[in-house]
């Protein structure tokens, strides 16, 4: 630095000296974020990608890998056509759909009503009850399936998808209720008071005000209930051994692994097909889920 180009910082030490750059810090933060996100995306997407690759290979290619296994040399849809034309696989799919639709319906009816009562109707013990609902969610299903086996057996519902419809809500209702309590609690109290004065009874307040306003929360809870039910593995493994009552998750595994023979191509194709409904549900409802409907309810 030449003396003639003295800047104020040189003349007055400590005044106006550059002690860091906001722009540079921001750039580093972005670079770090991008690197982490790319690594995370690769880690997350590698298994589904490998599933897709494998599902497009013939059994011969799977059992005789030449070179890298990440490339398909001889792509085929045979695994998919075999599965789709197999009535048993279609049965698994159908069972999963029936169980999931019913579980989501039962869960949402119970948890919306329960959450509304717990969030808005102050009654003796409502606080304790709300906490209790959440605590039940903390008990893992791997602990619950033994006593539940007794109950389901006692009701003569072992080896039946109706047994699953009965037990899945034990997982989904507490969590969905908890989500909905939070959502309902965020709706301003004046909204119910306005509805009360407008002439609404509790049921009308729920159906005409709370449910439409809390729609994003309800959709979030629905997605959760759907995921719990569609992806359940422990309960059907424990309660169902008859192939015609099996849902997809265990059907694919139990029927495509015979002894020590793994039908890898079909296994992967089945897993991918099973993963499709959740992907579609998420893709369609995500925007709805994120969009805040409550904006403008009160002072904005």
């Amino acid at each position: 630095m030449s003396a003639s180009a003295a800047r104020p910082s040189d003349v007055l030490p400590g005044l106006g000296r550059k002690i860091g750059s906001l722009r540079q810090e921001r750039r580093w933060a972005l670079i770090t974020a991008y690197i982490s996100l790319v690594v995370a995306a690769i880690v997350m997407l590698a298994p589904p990608f490998y599933m897709l690759i494998t599902s497009l290979k013939t059994s011969a290619e799977i059992s005789n890998p030449v070179g890298t296994p990440w490339i398909v040399r001889d792509p085929t849809l045979a695994n998919y056509t075999a599965l789709i034309s197999d009535p048993m696989f279609r049965g698994f799919f159908w069972n999963s759909i029936i169980v999931t639709v019913l579980v989501v319906a039962v869960t949402m009816v119970i948890s919306v009503l329960a959450a509304f009562a717990l969030a808005r109707m102050k009654f003796f013990g409502s606080q304790v009850l709300a906490t209790g609902v959440f605590l039940t969610y903390l008990v893992p299903d791997t602990l619950l399936f033994i006593p539940l086996y007794q109950i389901v057996g006692g009701l003569d519902l072992l080896n039946s998808k109706w047994g699953l419809v009965l037990v899945y809500p034990t997982l989904s209702v507490p969590f969905c209720t908890w989500i909905m309590i939070g959502y309902f609690a965020s709706i301003p109290k004046e909204l119910d008071e306005a509805a009360l004065i407008d002439g609404a009874n509790w049921m009308q307040m729920l159906t005409k005000i709370f449910i439409p306003v809390a729609l994003p929360g309800i959709i979030a809870a629905t997605i959760f209930a759907f995921t719990v039910s569609w992806a359940a593995f422990v309960y059907p493994t424990a309660f169902i051994t008859r192939p015609d009552e099996m849902p997809l998750t265990i059907g694919v595994v139990s029927q495509l692994i015979r002894g020590d023979t793994f039908a890898w191509g079909q296994l992967m194709a089945g897993a991918l097909l099973a993963a499709m409904p959740p992907v579609i549900v998420y893709a369609f409802l995500m925007d709805y889920y994120i969009a805040g409907l409550t904006a403008g309810a009160t002072k904005g």
Binding site: L196, I197, D198, A200, Q204, P212, V213, G296, A297, K299
Partner: protein, 367 residues
């Protein structure tokens, strides 16, 4: 159209806290009554008890002659406007206004007629299809009022409806509310903590403090004849000055002696009123607007000279306020902007003794 009668109403919360301590109030048909007071004075609780949103601990509330203590809000035939508007966010402006009528199973044509009529009164016709989030604060407030108007209820209840608006809009909406009341002439109970709002809107103002009613009366009566020190200090802006003083009798005349020796003669027509308190310590109450510079006043009976030394001067344009401290208390005076006032320079002032108040410090009552 209806009367509202509040009889010995008490509201006690769990834990024994009394928000409202046995108030009596009769609100006439078509009357615009404003409940005003500081936060926690029980004004909102009173309004919510009229609405049926709070239960009454004891006493009775009558609407149109019927006791409504146990009547749910929907059957009281009232409409309420909330501070945060409480519009239904998922409904259009039209549906927000029509909701109450739809629940009451009004014919579709009648609903449309009423909503359009209210929209015309409030000038929100072009907004009917919009959602609340697409409206400004003032527009939302109008919709909230429209929701009340379409119901054509016996009583309108307003809970601090203008508090969320900016100062300019507040003044504008205040006029709107008054205009609407003059058009629809519905009995109205209005809660605010803003005494200017209370004074400008009300037929009668109810000043509340600590769960009791301090005074009820038309705005001018509250201003000129406050009953208590609280009302005297709460109504009027800037607030009334309270100066510790002594009532002294000397040769048939009564004087207010300030602690620094200044002697202010009590007007002859008031001597009889205060005679019983001669020789006692009192509070001398005078509004800033009645403390004026001697140079701007023509001499007339009842004006007492007084010297004050401004310490802080606030020129507001139309008038100038100055503050000085005396006996540990602040004194505010309102003078003509043409009067030269400078901090530290004593100013010859006059106190308009015809407008002063004498307060008994033991009871806080205005004598």
């Amino acid at each position: 159209m209806a009367q509202v009668n509040i009889k010995k109403v008490v509201k006690e919360y769990e834990g024994g806290v009394q928000a409202v301590k046995g108030i009596d109030l009769d609100i006439g048909d078509k009357e615009f009554v404003v409940l005003v007071g500081p936060s926690g004075c029980g004004k909102s609780t009173t309004l919510r008890m009229i609405a049926g949103l709070e239960e009454i601990t004891s006493g009775a509330i009558e609407i149109d002659g019927n006791i409504v203590n146990d009547v749910p809000p929907r059957d009281r035939d009232i409409a309420m406007v909330f501070q945060n508007y409480a519009l239904y966010p998922h409904m259009s402006v039209y549906d927000n206004m029509a909701f109450g009528l739809m629940l009451r199973k009004f014919p579709r044509e009648e609903i449309r007629r009423r909503v359009e009529n209210a929209a015309r009164i409030l000038d929100i016709g072009p907004l009917l299809e919009r959602k609340p989030k697409a409206l400004s604060g003032g527009q939302r407030q109008r919709v909230a009022m429209g929701r009340a108007i379409v119901r054509d209820p016996k009583v309108f209840l307003f809970d601090e409806p203008l508090s969320n608006l900016d100062a300019k809009l507040r003044v504008q909406m205040r006029t709107e509310i008054k205009k609407v009341h003059q058009t629809v002439k519905t009995t109205t109970v209005y809660v605010t903590h803003d005494q200017v709002e209370a004074m400008t809107l009300a037929d009668r103002v109810v000043v509340m403090n600590h769960g009791i009613i301090e005074q009820v009366g038309p705005p001018q009566v509250l201003y000129h004849s406050p009953a208590t020190k609280f009302v005297a200090g709460f109504i009027g802006s800037p607030a009334m000055n309270f100066i510790p003083a002594r009532l002294e009798q000397a040769s048939g005349a009564l004087n207010v002696r300030l602690s620094d020796g200044a002697l202010l003669p009590v007007p002859a027509d008031r001597t009889a009123r205060y005679a019983g308190h001669a020789g006692r310590e009192v509070l001398f109450g005078i509004r800033p607007e009645h403390l004026t510079a001697a140079s701007q006043m023509e001499a007339r009976p009842g004006l007492a000279p007084l010297s004050l030394t401004p310490e802080v001067v606030e020129p507001l344009g139309a008038e100038t306020l100055f503050y000085c401290w005396r006996d540990g208390g602040e004194i505010c005076a309102k003078i003509d902007p043409g009067v030269a006032a400078a901090p530290g320079v004593p100013l010859a002032m006059t106190a308009d003794m015809n407008r002063m108040h004498i307060i008994d410090p033991a009871t806080d009552k205005v004598l």
